[in-house]
């Protein structure tokens, strides 16, 4: 039995269902990230776990105990809000101690707990200040301290980093991960940022329009997306989705990509070929991540099926650590990720290496994975 179980959870506002039967579970010490575009219902789901939104149908269990009817304060959870929600009239120390005070913890114990958390988050010098005297990063820290001090069973984070600037966001991300590793607490974390999801999670749940699209480890979600939405949403730059035709050539199943003013580009699908037999003669969408299209030397040496082809290079975008090379296949721009010192220039032909181990295929109508 998992530590936090979300069982066929439904949320209705009047006649509209905003969450349509979500089932998830997290082990103790797990880090579940709910990710999806805005309006997908991820924050509503978090509010329902917290008890700040009512549950229309289904069940939430924490450590085997049904919490549907429990008040937020009785669920043994702590929450970090997007706006931090620090009480402006209280000092940092009072903010952190407020939850303990409401629970009737004696003053001396509260002070000890605050001191401990302040040391953990290195903010002892801030304890006497008011929230208005703190920077964004410091407020974020206080908000986390307020959650940590209670030592709850589950931590809930509602887009905690979205109000920070880019650099601070990366720092705090690392800090959250470090805290999680050290404390080993169970965390549910909402974000719309797929990089945050990938870096922090032990389990990712991708949501769209109130429907759970995929639930799995970051590697599973990234490498084996179940549908085009997940494939497109996770990863930056996003996965190339190229219209392709599956046909048989010389007794082998191959993937053909149309090209302007040239013969079709023929790719050996490798391990996927047996599954692709079912869609022989049909159009599919080839999904391949930019890092699976490289220059020859940059290709993964352990890959089983590498296909070397020459393509016309449209644009080259050096990004320092990598060079993104744009070509045109199947009527779409395709981005390849090459080493920064790969000698490619725009307007010329260049050799590309496709790592077909990483290729996935989708049905263009249902948008579901076929191979």
């Amino acid at each position: 039995m998992a530590f936090l179980e979300i069982d066929r959870l439904v949320k209705r506002f009047g006649a509209t269902e905003v969450l349509k039967g979500i089932t998830l579970e997290v082990e103790e010490g797990g880090f579940l990230v709910l990710v999806g575009p805005s309006g997908c219902g991820k924050s509503t789901l978090l509010s329902m776990i917290a008890g700040l939104d009512t549950i229309s149908d289904g069940e939430v269990r924490i450590n085997g105990r049904r919490v549907n009817e429990l008040h937020p304060s009785q669920r043994d959870i702590a929450m970090v809000f997007q706006s931090y929600a620090l009480y402006p009239n209280m000092t940092v120390a009072e903010n952190i101690a407020f939850g303990l005070e409401m629970r009737g913890v004696p003053k001396t114990d509260r002070e000890a707990a605050v001191a401990k958390v302040a040391e953990m988050l290195q903010m002892g010098h801030l304890l006497k200040r008011k929230p208005s005297q703190l920077s964004g990063g410091q407020r974020q820290r206080v908000a986390m301290g307020r959650a940590l001090v209670r030592d709850p069973q589950v931590f809930l984070f509602d887009e905690p980093l979205s109000n920070l600037d880019a650099k601070l966001r990366v720092d705090m991300r690392t800090e959250i991960k470090r805290l999680h590793q050290r404390m080993g607490t169970t965390i549910v974390y909402v974000t719309h940022d797929q990089i945050e999801a990938m870096t922090l999670a032990t389990q990712i749940a991708v949501l769209k329009d109130g429907v759970l699209q995929q639930f799995g480890t970051p590697a599973e979600v990234y490498n084996n997306p179940v549908n085009m939405f997940v494939a497109d949403f996770m990863g930056s730059p996003s996965m190339n989705l190229v219209p392709a035709h599956i046909r048989a050539e010389n007794g082998k199943t191959v993937v053909a990509l149309s090209r302007a003013n040239e013969d079709d580009l023929i790719l050996d699908p490798g391990v996927a070929s047996t599954k692709l037999g079912a869609v022989l003669g049909q159009n599919v969408l080839l999904g391949i991540r930019p890092e699976a299209i490289t220059d020859h030397d940059g290709a993964d040496r352990n890959a089983r099926t590498l296909v070397d082809v020459d393509c016309h290079v449209e644009v080259v975008e050096p990004a320092g650590s990598d060079t993104f090379v744009v070509t045109h296949l199947g009527g779409k721009h395709v981005i390849a990720r090459m080493r920064s010192d790969a000698s490619v220039r725009g307007g010329q032909r260049a050799p590309f290496t496709f790592n077909m181990d990483k290729a996935v295929f989708f049905d263009p109508q249902t948008e579901l994975r076929v191979a």
């Binding site: 937020p72 304060s73 706006s83 929600a85 009480y87 407020f98 409401m102």
Partner: protein
């Protein structure tokens, strides 16, 4: 642009509008201040000086005697003990009425924004309606209600020996002012709390604070500007009220200040003592002035706070 263009213009063209603007301002300020000035100087003059002198002239020998007489000796109807008793009557009415109506308004605003229930808009609409009721329209029905209170007070006296305040004119006025003030106080607090971040309430809920703990520990400490606005507004209205005061406590030693002042001026035993009347009027106006001076700087801030989010 304007900084560069300014030296090119003739000095006169920029000064004329200013003269007009400041001239008008001074003119209206004078119109506003002259009655006040007359009151002040008259209250410091002796009667012979008033009878033979210029109304606008400064007192030749300023005296506080009229103030002392207004406070302690002026005749209100048949009793000549000054207005100090009525002044305290007003205080005893205003302080609880302002406190209760402000507190209840805050509570209403809290519920109407952070604990919304089905039909909260209708309830708020009905409360707003209270702001638009002309008070003359409720005089008689309210008199009936207060009459019932009086009956109940008598019943309590017969059974327990105490009235518990039922039938007491001051209590009645407090009740009336609380009821008719609630529309405004609720409106003020609702609009203020509408912009108050709901996440703070949610955070407090997760922290385990109860309904009233959230109100007392999170909402109220962050409501100072709107509390000041409400207190000033309610204090001024209730202190200055004449209609309810004269209708429900219009005679005897329970009169509030406003009714007593009216009676001071209307009491004619020989010579009309303008200086005493003016002094009494000044004393009557003093508390509202004091509230403005003490809390006024929050007033504008608070009026703005509800309007602009954040």
């Amino acid at each position: 642009m304007s900084a560069i263009a300014a030296p090119g213009r003739t000095p006169g063209s920029s000064i004329v509008p200013r003269i007009v603007i400041y001239g008008l301002l001074v003119f209206f300020a004078l119109i506003y201040l002259i009655p006040f000035f007359v009151m002040l100087v008259t209250s410091l003059k002796t009667m012979p000086e008033i009878q033979h002198g210029n109304m606008l002239a400064l007192p030749k020998a300023p005296t506080l005697d009229p103030w002392v007489r207004a406070w302690g000796e002026a005749c209100v109807g048949l009793t000549c003990e000054g207005i100090h008793g009525y002044f305290w009557n007003s205080i005893k009415m205003v302080v609880p009425a302002v406190a209760i109506s402000t507190f209840l308004g805050a509570l209403n605003g809290y519920v109407l924004t952070k604990w919304r229930f089905k039909g909260h808009k209708l309830v708020f609409g009905l409360m707003l309606f209270a702001c638009f009721i002309p008070f003359q329209a409720v005089l008689l029905p309210m008199a009936t209600v207060l009459g019932e209170f009086g009956q109940f007070g008598k019943f309590l006296t017969n059974t327990t020996g105490f009235t518990f305040g039922f039938g007491n004119p001051t209590v009645n006025l407090v009740f009336v002012h609380v009821v008719y003030g609630l529309g405004f106080t609720t409106l003020f607090f609702r609009n203020y709390y509408e912009a108050f971040p709901t996440e703070l309430v949610k955070a407090a809920m997760v922290d385990g604070a109860s309904f009233f703990q959230i109100f007392r520990r999170v909402l109220l400490p962050n409501s100072l500007p709107i509390i000041v606005v409400t207190v000033i507004y309610q204090f001024t209205n209730i202190w200055n009220d004449f209609l309810f005061a004269s209708a429900y406590a219009g005679s005897g030693d329970v009169m509030p200040m406003t009714v007593a002042l009216n009676n001071v001026v209307n009491t004619s035993t020989g010579v009309v003592e303008y200086n005493v009347n003016m002094a009494a009027a000044m004393i009557a106006a003093m508390p509202t002035l004091l509230v403005y001076i003490l809390a006024g700087r929050y007033f504008v801030r608070g009026l703005m706070a509800g309007a602009v989010k954040g």
